[in-house]
Amino acid sequence: MSLVDRHVGFVHALREAGLPVSLAEGLDAARALRVIDLTERESLRAAYAATLVKKPAYRPGFDMLFDLWFPSSTSGMDGRPADDAPLPDLREHLSRLLAGATDPEMREFARAMVERFGRQPAAEGRQNWFSYSVMRALSPETLMARILQGVPRGGLEEKSTRQRVTANIKRFEDAVATDVRRRIAEDSGIERIARSAVRPPLDQLDFLRITRADLVRLRREVHPLARRLAARLTIRQRHGRRGRLDFRRTVRASLSTGGVPMDPRFRPPRPHKPELVILCDTSDSVSSFAHFTLLLTYALREQFTKVRAFGFVDTVDEITRFFAPGGDVSEALAKLATEANMSRFGRTNYGRAFEEFAEKDVIGPKTSLLILGDARSNYQPPALDTLKRLVKDARHAYWLNPEPRRQWDSGDSLATSYGSIVPMRECRNIAQLAEFIERLA
């Protein structure tokens, strides 16, 4: 494959994996290739990353594809045990690496181990490569005890050693997986393996299909968005109201009319903190979404001075008290699950939730109401009039629905009925949430 073909194929694969690489950026990358030393692989990676990857969420997918398109050379096998070394020696070597190794050392060892343990003969003349057989043979996690020998127990020292070793085990696993993918790609073509191996970037992960590990990473993405949302709602209130006279700009504007101030200019008024009321569905059918909405609630709670949050399944409970600013989010979520009173029969009932919510009388002319839920109400009465009244009383109302739009109105979904009262938006991932927030103002 020539360099140009490789470049084009790589850019293509990035686009296919969901990275928005524009034509201009592709050209930048090509230009970058002309000024850097192509034999320096990490330099090449950094050059591609600088020109093509403009969001950290895209980085893991990028790295995976880069390793496939620009595999490291397989030469240089010095300084590690021979191929036929006995298993205990290999494990000894690995435990040294886990205590602290440079990337090339780690990669090289991983490559040798895949060569030795990762191969499984398949049909005639073909072979399959697996990482699990490598990990099973070496079982790095059982090496922890050995590495911890000589480290004083129960203190800071042990804690930080454990953490470093765990991180290095993950690095080793990644190095093995990378090499396995490289070998599969050699056998069956880069494109095929690329398509199946790359996970969607974090901001396009579906809220309804989120794993716990993803949630931890999402937490970091949600905070800035909450801050943005707070700022956006503040800006909305600012529009249309005038502040104090801006003398300087008024005089400046009067120049064109010979010093007669025809066009008075005003300073923007001081921003008012809006009140935000969040009403979120916390039932099991949307549990991972609920988890996310609670994260969002938590983040918003820190941004707004006045925010009240209500959770419901078939009965409503105010959950603001669990989200004290400065508190611990995971503890708050755990307490919420055991102490809050949101479920009586355990079946989502939007109608009843709205009725009860209206009785609490928390909506006023300054309130922005944010409803989060999938609008699936188990065929219970929808209480449309109550919702209509709530929306009329509020300053703004928005509904974010975690379901794909094509599933709306199927089965017990009341998306269109509710959507005719409150503007409803599909919000399945961070990207859509960010878009919603950007469009608010």
Binding site: A32, D37, K54, G155, L156, S160, P224, L255
Partner: protein, 276 residues
């Protein structure tokens, strides 16, 4: 400006800025391709410092535009000196042109464009500014020129090396990102952080720096509201030096935790998780 990424890291190291592969390559490419560099990452990992180091290493002037909500054209680009214009109108009855060079007040962006000497333009915390400011920057970032309606287009005599920084509190626009090279700066690896600490606090014993870097890495792995920044690690090093501590044991950490963790909940969490 630079010969190679290795040259970048050497010259930055000479002014006490320790870079890594991706930082060195990105800075080199930004200089070689003549493109602005957008550095994004958590607070306190050395984004602003990078711009300063580049300026220092290349002997260029540093012009800084600090962004904030409400930043406008008059503060970022240029403004007309209306007092002077008014006086001129009153003093001369002729219809003098009051929109000429002599009434123009330079602001950082225009100054960077017109500077005849090598310049590093630092647009700091771009994410703090309103979206409209991004629009303002687009012309500058793609063509290194600024159009003033009354005067015409001013082109850069010498292209400044532009660094934009952002804490990613909001997503910058696609248009802006497309014009820039992108550098995501993360917290440094343990080894690099140790070296940074030693570069900044040379009198610190080596193994204490090692311990410090390891402890900070452990703290960052906890789920904190605000992870310790590199600047705070350096503060910590100075604190230990001032206290005359030779070792970073549990009691020392517990006693000086306030230097790196500045939320009560974070401190409580660290005490609990680390058994202090």
């Amino acid at each position: 400006m630079f010969n190679s990424p290795a040259d970048v890291s050497e010259r930055l190291a000479a002014v006490d800025y320790l870079s890594d592969d991706s930082i060195a390559t990105s800075v080199f490419l930004a200089a070689a391709l003549g493109k602005p560099l957008l550095a994004e990452g958590p607070a306190g990992v050395g984004k602003t410092q990078l711009a300063k180091a580049v300026a220092q290493a290349t002997g260029a002037n540093l012009i800084r535009l600090q962004c904030y909500e409400g930043l406008d054209e008059a503060r970022a680009l240029y403004e007309w000196n209306y007092k002077k214009q008014l006086l001129r109108i009153q003093a001369t009855s002729s219809d003098d042109d009051i929109f000429s060079e002599e009434f123009l007040l330079e602001r950082p962006l225009l100054k960077a464009i017109r500077s005849a000497e090598p310049t590093v333009l630092l647009i700091d915390e771009t994410d703090k500014a309103d979206v409209e400011v991004e629009g303002l920057l687009l012309e500058l970032l793609s063509d290194f020129q600024i159009t003033i309606p009354e005067l015409g287009t001013i082109e850069a005599t010498l292209r400044p090396f532009v660094v934009l920084t952002s804490n990613a509190t909001r997503e910058l626009s696609e248009a802006l990102k497309r014009r820039c090279l992108y550098l995501h700066i993360e917290y440094p690896t343990q080894e690099r952080e140790r070296d940074i600490v030693l570069a900044q606090v040379p009198t610190l014993p080596g193994d204490l720096a090692e311990q410090l870097a390891r402890t900070v890495a452990t703290l960052r792995a906890l789920e904190l509201k605000k992870a310790p920044s590199v600047a705070e690690t350096i503060d910590w090093a100075r604190t230990l030096l001032a206290l005359g501590r030779e070792e970073l044991d549990e009691s020392t950490v517990a006693g000086t935790l306030g230097v790196v963790l500045k939320h009560a909940s974070d401190q409580a969490r660290a005490r609990k998780e680390l058994g202090l």
